[in-house]
Symmetry: C2
Subunit: 191 residues, 2 copies
DNA sequence: ACTCTTTTTGGCACCTGGTATTAAATCCTA
DNA sequence: TAGGATTTAATACCAGGTGCCAAAAAGAGT
């Protein structure tokens, strides 16, 4: 039995729609050289919804992913904050934070959580990172919940700089440690 | 002339569709208590496309933003790369990177560019940031183009660690400098 | 060569969510 | 009360399908 042609076509169809979900059945007939009914049977078998449904799905995905894009403000959820003293934030490592090959979080996300917290804990109008000293103790992995704890070591209202120490844990294990020096507006703003 | 009802309806219609672009004209008639023709005239005047067009637009946006979503892989465009030697990347500060009150870039974005480049420049299957030492020399601001230059100082194939130095400039001015220690898979992978 | 099954086509009615056009009804106000 | 703006109605048409049924074509088995 040379049942291949159908399977092959199914594969091609899947591939085509994966790389361009905007194709109508009619356009697919031209690419695959079969009738439109065949295309529709194929979609049925492969459980691929019609064009409009595909677009709707994509639109829905993009609609609620607006919320989950944490690029703008604080990275991680701050669950406790004592200004000029200490703070705690939570951050869960999801697919978008990891190297896809290894499932290990990219360093800048772990840093972003710690940095956001270090800035937030400083009780001032303007607080900017001046310098930092980081240690990635062990990699954080997909699905892990990172708990960052920040302690203000010297707030130095006069000097314009504050020192903040941040420790990030997964469970009991420490995964990251950083010493931050934060500029605060009391001292100077910027050029 | 009590021309308000129309303008008011137009405003409501815009608002409704803004917060839920998935509404059909028929659903809108129920919300606004006017005939479907009125809804269509209104959309015409307001140049709001029909439901399917709206969904298509959203789908398209989300489709090619896959490329421009810089969350996953490398932050910044790498324009030059000599593995185990040096690399250059460009990154423009846009609204989403800054504190909205001050227009100053959040530190973790500047760090992310430098960190991505430091990892990219290491010629190895797996490269992870081990530790880093950072100096934010002056704030990067909205609209500025950051040029990060990375130099591998000691690649240490045996030791499993490489040292990378990164300098980030806006024009002639240095805004950031960092010393990175990168784990490379030659030495050890991970737990 | 003749079955039997799978696969592929074709045709037709129907659906949704519209556009386009023309016409009638309703307001408002000068 | 005439006249423009506004609203509603009615009808034809379109894209991109679904659902269903039948017929043609292609293989496979013996």
């Amino acid at each position: 039995m040379e049942r291949l042609p159908k399977r092959q076509r199914h594969q091609q169809l899947s591939r085509l729609l994966e790389e361009n979900p905007f194709l109508t059945d009619r356009e697919l007939t031209r690419k695959l050289k079969v009738s439109i009914q065949t295309i529709r049977l194929d979609r049925l078998e492969l459980a691929i919804p019609e064009l409009r449904e595909r677009l709707k799905l994509m639109a829905e995905r993009s609609h609620d992913s607006v919320k989950s894009l944490p690029l703008h403000e604080v990275i991680g959820d701050i669950v406790d904050l004592q200004l000029d003293k200490s703070g705690i934030s939570l951050f869960e490592i999801t697919e978008e934070h990891v190297f896809s090959r290894t499932g290990i979080a990219r360093g800048h996300h772990v840093f972003a959580q710690a940095n956001s917290l270090a800035v937030a804990v400083i009780n001032d109008e303007i607080a900017l990172t001046a310098s930092a000293d980081l240690r990635f103790i062990r990699p954080a992995r997909l699905g892990e919940k990172c708990i960052a704890k920040a302690y203000v070591r010297s707030s130095g209202e006069q000097k314009g700089k504050a020192k903040v120490e941040v420790f990030t844990y997964v469970g009991e294990e420490m995964v990251f440690q950083g010493n931050f020096v934060i500029y605060r507006s009391a001292g100077e703003t910027n050029t």
